[in-house]
């Protein structure tokens, strides 16, 4: 088993309109179902965490600027660590991610083994 970082881009907390109670409930249930399924299948190494939207960007020379660093739908909203046989299986797993329902995407990156 290899490990993969899932970077969730957009679709997490970049909505400009307030979510309705129904949307919020539906989204929470989708994510819980997603993590629940991965856990049961033994694919989940670490749930990871959602990230707050604000941030700082530190460049060479000590220049610090405020985030966000990219367009709303490009902002990384959270990450998880997934276990899979290879990159293609990891990508298959990512297809089931609820981030798509909110217009986001997943970047799948293999963790370089020691």
């Amino acid at each position: 088993m290899n490990e993969f970082i899932f970077l969730y881009r957009g679709g997490m907390n970049n909505q400009n309109t307030p979510p309705s109670a129904q949307e919020m409930e539906a989204q929470m249930k989708r994510w819980q179902a997603w993590f629940g399924k991965l856990g049961e299948e033994g694919k989940l190494k670490d749930w990871g965490a959602p990230l707050q939207r604000e941030g700082k960007h530190v460049a060479a020379g000590g220049v610090i600027t405020d985030g966000p660093f990219s367009e709303g739908k490009e902002v990384i909203g959270g990450f998880s660590i997934i276990k899979a046989k290879d990159l293609s299986e990891a990508a298959q797993i990512a297809k089931g991610c609820p981030v798509f329902e909110a217009g986001g995407s997943v970047e799948v990156r293999p963790v370089q083994a020691m």
């Binding site: 307030p18 109670a21 919020m24 749930w47």
Partner: protein, 426 residues
């Protein structure tokens, strides 16, 4: 068992968002209502993302309040660094004492007080009554624009405009949350009571299908009714602002709440008043409701709330549907109609007319008043036609009602009625 995601989210949206807004508005002032709403919105979003990953926290309400407090303090700090605007946000307060006030505003007793202040502050005479009510429903009761539009029977764009103008007024006039005193305060009470009445109604007409997630209408539940009742009680218990109308409104809400559990069968289908199991009615609520009705002095005052509470009191104290004092109910409806001669009142009155003077008289009443294209009108008309033996006309009415309703439970009931009609005729 841990509360369901559904229950927690509903609770947060319906009750906590209003409490948050009220607490925050006390620090920021109503002129910064957009900032307040942004913070509430951001806090809900933070809850959404965090809980999606980590599951529900042990105390979701405390979690939300904590996050909102952080965001509010952050906001003020940023503002203080950026500009002099901080002075405008909190005129006389230094940074230290301001934090204190802030914590203070989140204490339970203060939250209730904040909500009362907020209600009466929203009922500002500088903006039209419809806007006052829309604002209360939006900021204090967690209504979406769509839900407000549905309560007012109007378009979402209209509500957006009303809210926008109200916010602008508060901003332009630097309105604070300081409640007015004396007559200026009590002058605002009718609008506040109307908002609570609408809030309760909105919950009540949808309680039938609170677990049905398929309806597109954005289902609410009895939480909404209980919240309206809680807020009405806050006013009723407040020595300076209570009034007979407030007591009557409390009585009305309680007497309607008596039937919460008997309005739906176990399978979720709707049970009509005539078929409800009256032994299951909440006796304690009946007693308390009747007590409030007495306190409201219905012999002296005859507001719409007094009359409607009176009607409900006759329903809940009748031992059977047949033994209901329909003549007295009809008398109250006539007074109610004299107060507001609206088709909606006439529609409900027709049910009493049918019981007292027979279905033909009720149909004549319905024909005499221009009726709205409302599912309830057609449903009532269908029932009365059926009593009059006009099966074909009843069928037409039930068909229209089924087309118009947006509530799945009501639709199911109407379809059952139509099916039994088909079976009866065949």
């Amino acid at each position: 068992m841990a509360p369901s995601v559904h229950a927690v989210v509903e609770h947060l949206f319906r009750q906590e968002s209003g409490k948050l807004a009220a607490s925050l508005a006390r620090s920021f002032g109503l002129s910064k209502l957009d900032v307040v709403e942004d913070i509430v919105h951001e806090s809900l979003l933070a809850a959404l993302t965090s809980w999606s990953f980590h599951g529900l926290p042990e105390n979701p309400t405390a979690w939300l309040h904590r996050v909102a407090k952080h965001k509010a303090v952050d906001h003020i700090r940023k503002r203080a660094l950026e500009s002099r605007e901080a002075e405008e946000i909190l005129p006389a307060l230094s940074a230290a004492s301001h934090t204190l006030t802030f914590e203070h505003n989140f204490l339970p007793g203060e939250i209730e007080d904040s909500q009362l202040r907020m209600m009466f502050a929203c009922a500002h005479p500088g903006i039209p009554v419809e806007s006052q009510i829309a604002l209360m429903l939006k900021t204090l009761c967690g209504f979406s624009v769509r839900e407000i539009a549905s309560a007012f029977l109007t378009q979402e764009a209209t509500i957006e405009k009303r809210l926008g103008r109200a916010r602008k007024y508060f901003r332009d006039h630097h309105v604070t949350l300081e409640p007015p005193v004396g007559a200026a305060l009590t002058d605002r009470r009718p609008a506040v009571l109307t908002a609570l009445y609408l809030l309760f109604n909105e919950g009540y007409k949808r309680t039938e299908s609170e677990d049905d997630r398929s309806s597109a209408d954005g289902l609410l539940n009895r939480d909404l009714c209980l919240e309206a009742l809680r807020l009405a009680l806050l006013i009723s218990k407040h020595a300076e602002i209570r009034s007979p109308e407030t007591d009557a409104l409390v009585a009305l809400m309680m007497l309607l709440a008596v039937r919460f559990d008997t309005r739906t069968a176990e399978d979720g289908s709707m049970v009509l008043l005539s078929e409800q199991d009256r032994s299951q009615w909440n006796q304690q609520l009946i007693e308390t409701g009747m007590e409030y009705l007495r306190r409201s002095e219905p012999d002296v005052y005859t507001s719409a709330y007094h009359l409607e509470a009176g009607i409900q009191s006759l329903h809940v104290t009748a031992t059977t549907y047949a033994e209901t004092n329909w003549a007295a109910i009809l008398g109250l409806y006539k007074q109610r109609y004299a107060l507001t001669p609206s088709p909606l009142v006439a529609m409900h009155m027709a049910v009493a007319v049918a019981e007292v003077h027979g279905p033909q008289a009720a149909l004549e009443l319905l024909d005499a008043v221009p009726m709205p294209e409302h599912y309830l009108y057609h449903a009532i008309r269908g029932n009365i036609s059926l009593k009059a033996g006009a099966v074909e006309s009843a069928r037409e009415s039930f068909h229209s009602a089924r087309t118009l309703t947006r509530n799945a439970t009501e639709r199911a009931l109407l379809e059952a009625r139509l099916a039994s009609l088909e079976a009866g005729v065949a």
